[in-house]
Every structure is written in structure tokens, then in C-alpha cells.
């Protein structure tokens, strides 16, 4: 304690000070860090060599089909279905969440039932069910419900193509999951926020848009990023109703050339690429809506890279850490 309170230079002036107490503190040595790293690297090298030297794996085929027009068509359809289903399901989810948070018992019960039904049955079953919609209703009519007034009708199988059935199945299923995420986000905002907004003369809609939703978004975005990636991969389930997305296209090709594993590798490369690309906007959205919640925002990858490059050049010592916060968008 005393040494900490001594003024600088005390060590030189006090000859008795620099004896037993003036020692160097060595951090704990951790040999297991090195040993475990070597073991893991060895296992990894063995795994790679087994795959690379396997005579049954034809890497030329993987390269051949990676940019095959049919595969690219499948990739496009996968992206299209993901984007449409995710967008529509999010809007639906906000409506369902609002219904579950309302004080109207009918709206609340219907929303609860919706989530219960769509979350409680396998999505694969729902997809097949929508694919068989034509068995349930052979005609789809546009008219006034519970009356005989009909404006027009259409053959179900012509209207609900496999593509439409797949969209319906994924969208309705996703809305059930997303609505719970939106609801959790809305409930995470303190009640005092609404009161403060109201006391300033803000209308309920304005309060929702400018005060409550931006705060809820901070809680909503990370799980929604997960859902988006799940959705992208779940599109492969649509192969059971013959939607020609990425996985179906690959199956069709491998059923003729019998290169199943190679085409599965092609498909996996594409899914990995697409999910990696989707993680980028999530990172920036989280930063955007994280404003004010932490004192220091983490640097973006670009900022990190720039810092790393700068630290390689000889230059002035880095500034000490501060509490200053970068204001995004200011």
C-alpha cells in the first residue's frame, strides 16, 4: 500500500526501497495451450488428407458443376424464396405480435392459436400439406365468404404451383416463430419509455415508430439473423414438392450422373457462401440499433483492418483507451 502512494522517484531517494520488493511479476506459463493446439492441428491435417486423397471423390466434378446453369438457376430460386418468405413473414409477424399484445381477448386467442398450430407441427408436414392443397379445395374462388357471391374462380393446381405452395408454407411457418421474437422485443422495452413519449404529446403510432420499435430492434435483430439463415437452408425442404431450388436441382443432376457426394459438396459450398454473405448486414444492423446501449461500440472489420495495418507501420504510440463513443450517422 505504501509503495503505491509514494511519489515518483521515491525508489531512487530511498535506498532501502529497491531491495526485496523490487521484483518482476511473471505470468503463469501455460504449456497446454501449445500442446492442445498441436494436437488439433494434427487431427485437422489428417482429416484433410483423408478427404483429399480419397479416390472415390472426384473434385473435377465438383468444379464442373459449381457453376452449372441448372445449379445457378437453383441458387437464384433459393434466394428468391428466402427473400420473399422472410419479408412477408416479418410483416405478418408484427401483426401477430401486436395481436398477442393487444387487450382484445379474441385477437389474443387467435394469435396464440396461430403460433401454437404452426410452431407445433413439423415444417416438412406443412410443406407437403400446402403441396396437396388441390386435394382439399379443387377450386379457389374469390367472393364474399358465407354467401353465394363469387367474382371468379380458378383451378387450385394452376394457381398454387409448387413454388407458391412452398412460399406459403415457409412464410406462414416463419411468421409464427418471428412473431414470438417481435413480441419478446416489444416486451423488452421499459414501460416508462411509452409514458415519456406520451407525456411529450407523441401519438401511439409515432411512439411505436420512433421510440419503441428502435429499442425493440436491438433485441429482435440477432435472433432474426438466425431465422434468416434457417430459412435459407429450409428452402431445401421444398424438394419434397419439387420446387426447383438449389438442392432439388442438385438431386436431379446426381440422379442421372450418380455423383451424389460431389453434388452435395457443390450444394454445401453454395449454402455456406450465401449464409456467410447474410451475416454481414446483420453485423452492421446490430451496430446501428446498438447505439446508446454500450459505452464503446466494437470496431467494424474495416476499422479493425485499418488499425492492424497502422500498427505494423512504425509510428506514434497508440492513444490510451477512452470512453469517447463514435456517433454513427452524426
Amino acid at each position: 500500500m505504501t509503495s503505491a502512494t509514494l511519489p515518483r522517484g521515491a525508489a531512487e531517494t530511498d535506498p532501502g526501497f529497491a531491495t526485496d520488493d523490487d521484483v518482476e511479476a511473471i505470468p503463469l506459463r501455460r504449456p497446454w495451450r501449445w500442446i492442445s493446439a498441436v494436437v488439433v492441428l494434427a487431427l485437422l491435417a489428417w482429416f484433410v488428407s483423408v478427404i483429399a486423397t480419397n479416390p472415390n471423390l472426384d473434385f473435377a466434378t465438383v468444379g464442373l458443376f459449381l457453376f452449372d446453369p441448372r445449379i445457378l438457376e437453383g441458387v437464384w430460386l433459393t434466394i428468391l424464396i428466402t427473400v420473399i418468405s422472410m419479408a412477408v413473414s416479418t410483416i405478418l409477424a408484427i401483426v401477430i405480435a401486436a395481436m398477442r399484445l393487444s387487450s382484445n381477448p379474441v385477437l389474443l386467442s387467435v394469435a396464440w392459436f396461430y403460433v401454437w398450430a404452426f410452431r407445433g407441427t413439423p415444417v416438412l408436414v406443412q410443406i407437403v400439406l400446402w403441396g396437396y392443397l388441390g386435394l382439399l379445395f379443387d377450386q379457389i374462388r374469390l367472393g364474399i365468404p358465407l354467401t353465394d357471391v363469387v367474382f371468379g374462380s380458378m383451378d387450385t393446381n394452376a394457381l398454387v404451383t409448387p413454388f407458391v405452395a412452398g412460399l406459403l408454407a415457409l412464410t406462414l411457418n416463419q411468421a409464427a416463430y418471428s412473431s414470438e421474437i417481435v413480441r419478446a422485443g416489444m416486451m423488452s422495452v421499459d414501460e416508462g419509455q411509452r409514458e415519456a413519449a406520451y407525456s411529450l404529446g407523441m401519438s401511439p403510432l409515432y411512439t411505436f415508430r420512433r421510440v419503441l420499435l428502435p429499442q425493440a430492434m436491438r433485441v429482435i435483430i440477432p435472433p432474426m439473423g438466425n431465422e434468416l439463415i434457417s430459412m435459407l437452408k429450409n428452402t431445401s425442404l421444398l424438394s419434397v414438392i419439387a420446387v426447383m431450388e438449389l438442392y432439388t436441382q442438385a438431386s436431379v443432376i446426381s440422379s442421372t450422373n450418380l455423383k451424389q457426394v460431389e453434388l452435395l459438396i457443390v450444394v454445401s459450398i453454395w449454402y455456406l457462401f450465401m449464409t456467410s454473405v447474410l451475416s454481414v448486414p446483420q453485423y452492421y444492423l446490430e451496430r446501428r440499433f446498438g447505439r446508446g446501449s454500450t459505452r464503446n461500440l466494437p470496431p467494424t472489420p474495416i476499422q479493425r483492418l485499418r488499425k492492424a495495418l497502422q500498427s505494423r507501420k512504425p509510428g506514434p504510440a497508440p492513444a490510451p483507451p477512452t470512453n469517447a463513443v463514435e456517433v454513427i450517422g452524426a
Binding site: 416508462g192 407523441m202 447505439r291 446501449s293
Partner: protein, 269 residues
């Protein structure tokens, strides 16, 4: 606003026509629990009324009724000649639409115990949000006014700070500036210093004193007896949903007539 600082609000009926805030026979229950029982009170323009009382006495509820954050079951609240939250038709009042109520609230500022600043906005954005988004003032004008208000509460250097980077006392002063930005004719304070560390209370009370000096009409729920003695024109002691005693601070605080008031003052001082 040329109202004299008359302190004889003890006989409310006579002053009703002149008072900025008139609370008449207000009743309010939460379920079976009656929180406000036939409360009448009036607050002349330019004066400060302090509501005192034990917790559960109904003082915060009464304050929240004045800007219709709580509905009432009976009686009337009139601010600046306007019935708050309701339209009268014969012997009944009908609750207004949220939009109409929002309009009325623009003229009534409120400061909360827990500050309730918007955490995703900087101090400056907190203050500018309602003038720009609700009152439709030009952004540049709202900004210069907001900076002026920040300066007035002693936080000119904190415009770009988020609430999480500010102390409780600083947050509460920003909250006061935010309410003042809408140019209210009445300010409501709901235990503004109760959530603060003791050494930060003074800064907030100073801002409120200054506001009172400038002639702002204020209704303050607080346990700060010193503030009530120094600033209030009228002290109202409530207990069990009724007004036990009301009058100038030197009467209610220094010479209370009722035993309940005496007991309360002894317990807080």
C-alpha cells in the same frame, strides 16, 4: 400570467375561475382499491404546488391524471380552461381519442422518477425529437433551442452523449430540458430526485428552483421538505386518497393542524 402569487388556495371554490389547473372532485380506483377519493385542488398560474404524503397516498396517481397517463372514474381536471382527456356531454364525460389526448399533452411537460430518457438518442436528439416530430418545428430552430436548454440546465458540453454515458443527475436535467422544449404551460414532476444519489440531488433541485423563479407553473411530488419550504406557494398533504391539509408551506409544514400531517413530517425530517 399576471396572476398574483396568492397563497390562499385553501378555499379552492373561489379561485377556480382564475387557476391554471383545476382538479374538481376527482375519483379513481384500481380495481377495488380507491386511490383518489373526491380530490379537489387548484393551482394558480405561475405558482408551485408541492404534493406531499406517504407512499400509496395517491399523490403520484393524481399527478399522472393531470396529463391523462391515468384515466379517472369521476370528476374533472381542467388545465388552462380545457377539460383534460374527456369531452363533457350533460352529466357524463367521454374519453377522447388518443390523438386528441396527445395534442393536449403537448402543453403539459412531465419529469419522471426514473428519467425515462430515450436510450437510443443522444441528449440533443432526446430534446429535439418532440419539437421536430410532434410540433413540426424546423430542425435548425429546434436545434438551437435545444442547445439553449442544455446550456440552461448546465449541460452544454453533453449534447452528443447518450443517456447511458450520463450520471443520474445529468439524465434528469436532460429530461427537464426535454420537457421544456415543448414550451409547456405546466410542468409535472413525479419524485424527480428520488432515484438520485444524494450528492446529485442539489443540481436537479437548482434547475427546478430556477424554473420556479421564472414563473413556470409546477406541480411537484417530492419528499424534499427543504425544497417545499423554499419554493412552494402551496403545499398539499395527501393520505389515503384524500387531501388532509393544504396551504402555504409555513402553515402546513411549520404549523400542521392535523395529527396525520404531524406524524408524516416527523418521520421524514
Amino acid at each position: 400570467m399576471n396572476m398574483s402569487m396568492t397563497q390562499t388556495v385553501a378555499e379552492p371554490e373561489a379561485r377556480h375561475s382564475e387557476a391554471l389547473v383545476q382538479i374538481r372532485r376527482v375519483r379513481k380506483s384500481f380495481g377495488a382499491h380507491e386511490v383518489l377519493r373526491d380530490i379537489s385542488l387548484s393551482v394558480p398560474a405561475g405558482t408551485v404546488t408541492v404534493l406531499l404524503g406517504p407512499s400509496g397516498s395517491g399523490k403520484s396517481t393524481l399527478l399522472r391524471c393531470v396529463n391523462h397517463l391515468e384515466t379517472i372514474d369521476g370528476g374533472r381536471i381542467i388545465v388552462d380552461g380545457e377539460l383534460i382527456g374527456y369531452r363533457q356531454a350533460g352529466h357524463k364525460t367521454h374519453e377522447m381519442s388518443p390523438r386528441q389526448i396527445a395534442k393536449q399533452r403537448q402543453g403539459i411537460g412531465m419529469v419522471f422518477q426514473r428519467f425515462n430518457l430515450f436510450p437510443h438518442m443522444t441528449a440533443l436528439e432526446n430534446i429535439m425529437e418532440a419539437p421536430v416530430g410532434v410540433a413540426g418545428r424546423p430542425r435548425a430552430m429546434a436545434k438551437s433551442r435545444a442547445l439553449e436548454l442544455l446550456d440552461r440546465v448546465g449541460l452544454a458540453d453533453f449534447a452528443g452523449h447518450y443517456p447511458a454515458q450520463l450520471s443520474g443527475g445529468q439524465q434528469q436535467r436532460i429530461a427537464i430540458a426535454r420537457a421544456l422544449a415543448m414550451e409547456p404551460k405546466l410542468m409535472l414532476f413525479d419524485e424527480p430526485t428520488s432515484a438520485l444519489d444524494p450528492e446529485l440531488v442539489g443540481d436537479v433541485l437548482d434547475v427546478m428552483r430556477e424554473l420556479a423563479r421564472e414563473g413556470m407553473t409546477m406541480i411537484v411530488v417530492t419528499h424534499e421538505i427543504g425544497f417545499a419550504r423554499g419554493v412552494a406557494d402551496q403545499v398539499v398533504f395527501m393520505d389515503g386518497g384524500v387531501v388532509v391539509e393544504a396551504g402555504p408551506p409555513q402553515e402546513v409544514l411549520d404549523n400542521p393542524q392535523r395529527q396525520r400531517t404531524r406524524n408524516f413530517l416527523e418521520s421524514v425530517q
